[in-house]
C-alpha cells in the first residue's frame, strides 16, 4: 500500500554534491534522520508525500470496514471489528504526526486528500459486499500492509520508523482476526465456504496491486532505496506476500484465483499470472468503483464535524478568558 505512496513523488534536489554526499554517508551508516536535521529537499518531499498517503490510507481504510460494524454476526466479532477500526484511526494519527514533523500542517494534508491531490491506497476503492470481505481484508489487506510496514520500521527517517513500530505491533491482531473469520466461514456450510471463496476471488488481485507497480515501472523506487526510505522493491515484497499467503489459502481449502500460479522449485517461490495493470492505474487515477464515495464520505465527515471543532475552540477560549479574569 505504501509503495503506492511513491507514485508521482518528485525526488529532485538542488543541493550541492558535498551536502548530498554527507547526507548519504549518514544514511549508509544507518544513522536515523530526525526532523531538525539538515536533509535534502527531495528527501523531505518524498517523505511528506509517502507518510501523508500512508496516513490517508489508514483513515480511508476505516470506511470499507465501518460498513459492516452494525451487521457483524456476533458480539465477539463486533467488538473485534470496532477495536480494529479504532486502531486504523489511531494509526492514521500517528502517521499524520510523523508527517507534521516535516513542516506540513494537518489542515494541508486533509485538504489534499479531499481535493484528490493526495492519494491513498488503491485497495480501499473496492467495495465490501459481504461479511466475508471483513475477514479477507484482515487476512490479505492487513497481511500485505504488514509485509510493507515491517521494513518501514527500519526507515531512515526516525519519526516514521517509530510510528511504524507501534503500527506493526497492533496490526498483527488485525490479520489474525481476519484469518479467523475466513477460517470459520471456510469450515462452515457450503454456502459459507462459497462466500469465503467469492471474497478471495475479488480481493486477491487488488491485494497484489497494493505493492505498487512492477520494479521496472516504478520510477522513484531507486532513490527511495538509496535513501533507505524503503528497503525492498515492490516485486520483492509482492513475492514474499504470495509465498506466505498461498499455503494459508490451501489450509482453508480455498483456491487462489490465478490459473498460472505454480511453485517454482528453482527460485523457491511461486510464479504468478500477469497483474491487470490497466485496472491498477484506472483505480489509482480515481476511476475505481468506490473512489468517489470514499472522498465524498471523508468530506462529509469533515464538514459535518466542523461545528464540533469550532465549538471546542470557542469553549477553550472562553475557559482561558475566565481563568485570566479570575487571576
Amino acid at each position: 500500500m505504501y509503495s503506492q505512496g511513491l507514485i508521482g513523488a518528485d525526488g529532485q534536489t538542488n543541493e550541492t554534491p558535498e551536502f548530498l554526499e554527507t547526507f548519504q554517508k549518514r544514511i549508509d551508516a544507518e544513522e536515523k534522520v530526525e526532523p531538525t536535521d539538515a536533509m535534502p529537499e527531495g528527501y523531505r518531499r518524498t517523505l511528506v508525500r509517502q507518510i501523508g498517503q500512508h496516513a490517508h490510507s489508514e483513515i480511508v481504510g476505516m470506511l470499507p470496514e465501518g460498513n459492516w460494524i452494525t451487521r457483524a454476526p456476533s458480539l465477539r466479532r463486533k467488538a473485534a471489528l470496532l477495536a480494529k477500526v479504532q486502531d486504523e484511526g489511531g494509526h492514521g494519527l500517528y502517521l499524520y504526526s510523523a508527517a507534521e514533523t516535516l513542516g506540513v500542517s494537518r489542515e494541508e494534508m486533509t485538504e489534499e486528500l479531499h481535493s484528490g491531490k493526495a492519494k491513498y491506497s488503491s485497495i480501499f476503492n473496492y467495495p465490501t459486499l459481504s461479511w466475508a470481505d471483513i475477514g479477507t481484508i484482515g487476512w490479505l489487506v492487513d497481511g500485505a500492509a504488514i509485509m510493507n510496514q515491517i521494513p518501514l520500521c527500519r526507515c531512515s527517517f526516525g519519526p516514521y520508523a517509530r510510528a511504524m513500530i507501534r503500527v506493526c505491533k497492533e496490526e498483527s491482531f488485525h490479520q489474525r482476526q481476519g484469518y479467523e473469520i475466513i477460517m470459520t466461514l471456510a469450515q462452515g456450510t457450503p454456502e459459507q465456504k462459497e462466500m469465503a471463496q467469492d471474497s478471495l476471488n475479488r480481493w486477491w488481485w487488488p491485494s497484489l496491486m497494493m505493492f505498487g507497480p512492477h520494479d521496472a515501472d516504478s520510477e522513484h523506487s531507486d532513490q527511495s532505496m538509496t535513501w533507505k526510505i524503503k528497503r525492498f522493491t515492490n516485486d520483492q515484497l509482492r513475492q514474499k506476500f504470495i509465498d506466505a499467503t498461498v499455503p494459508q489459502a490451501e489450509y482453508l481449502g480455498l483456491k487462489v484465483p490465478d490459473p498460472d500460479l505454480k511453485w517454482n522449485e528453482e527460485k523457491g517461490g511461486y510464479d504468478h499470472g500477469e497483474i491487470d495493470w490497466d485496472e491498477f492505474w484506472r483505480v489509482v487515477k480515481g476511476h475505481g468503483r468506490m473512489n468517489r464515495d470514499r472522498i465524498k464520505d471523508r468530506r462529509a465527515a469533515w464538514e459535518r464535524g466542523a461545528w464540533v471543532r469550532e465549538a471546542a475552540l470557542a469553549h477553550a477560549e472562553k475557559r482561558r478568558a475566565r481563568k485570566i479574569a479570575a487571576e
Binding site: E100, R106, E107, R309, A312
Partner: protein, 94 residues
C-alpha cells in the same frame, strides 16, 4: 476552519516506578480534550497508568545547529566513567 487546533505532546507512565516518557503528539482544542484524545490514541492496550499532555508551544528545545557545541565536549571526557579507573582485582567489586 480558520483557527487551527493547538498541538500537544503526550507523555505516558508505563507503570508506577517508571518516568513518564514521550509517546507522541496530537491536536486538541484544550487540555481536557487533549487528555481524552491521548488516552484514546496512545493507551488502547494497557500502555500506561498516567498521561501528561503539554502544549508543544511551551517546550523550549536546544538548537540543533548547536548540537556539536552542546554535546560533543563530553565525548572526550572518558574520566567521567567508572571504567576509566584501574582497580586491582584483589580489591573486588567497586
Amino acid at each position: 476552519m480558520t483557527q487551527s487546533m493547538p498541538l500537544w505532546e503526550v507523555f505516558i507512565r508505563p507503570r508506577n516506578g517508571l518516568a513518564h516518557k514521550h509517546a507522541g503528539s496530537l491536536h486538541a482544542a484544550d487540555e481536557v480534550m487533549a487528555l481524552q484524545a491521548a488516552r484514546d490514541v496512545y493507551t488502547r492496550r494497557g500502555e500506561g497508568n498516567s498521561v501528561w499532555v503539554v502544549p508543544s508551544a511551551a517546550i523550549t528545545a536546544s538548537d540543533p545547529d548547536q548540537a556539536g557545541e552542546n554535546f560533543e565536549p563530553t565525548g572526550d571526557k572518558i574520566y567521567r566513567h567508572p571504567t576509566f579507573y584501574e582497580i586491582p582485582e584483589e580489591v573486588g567489586n567497586m
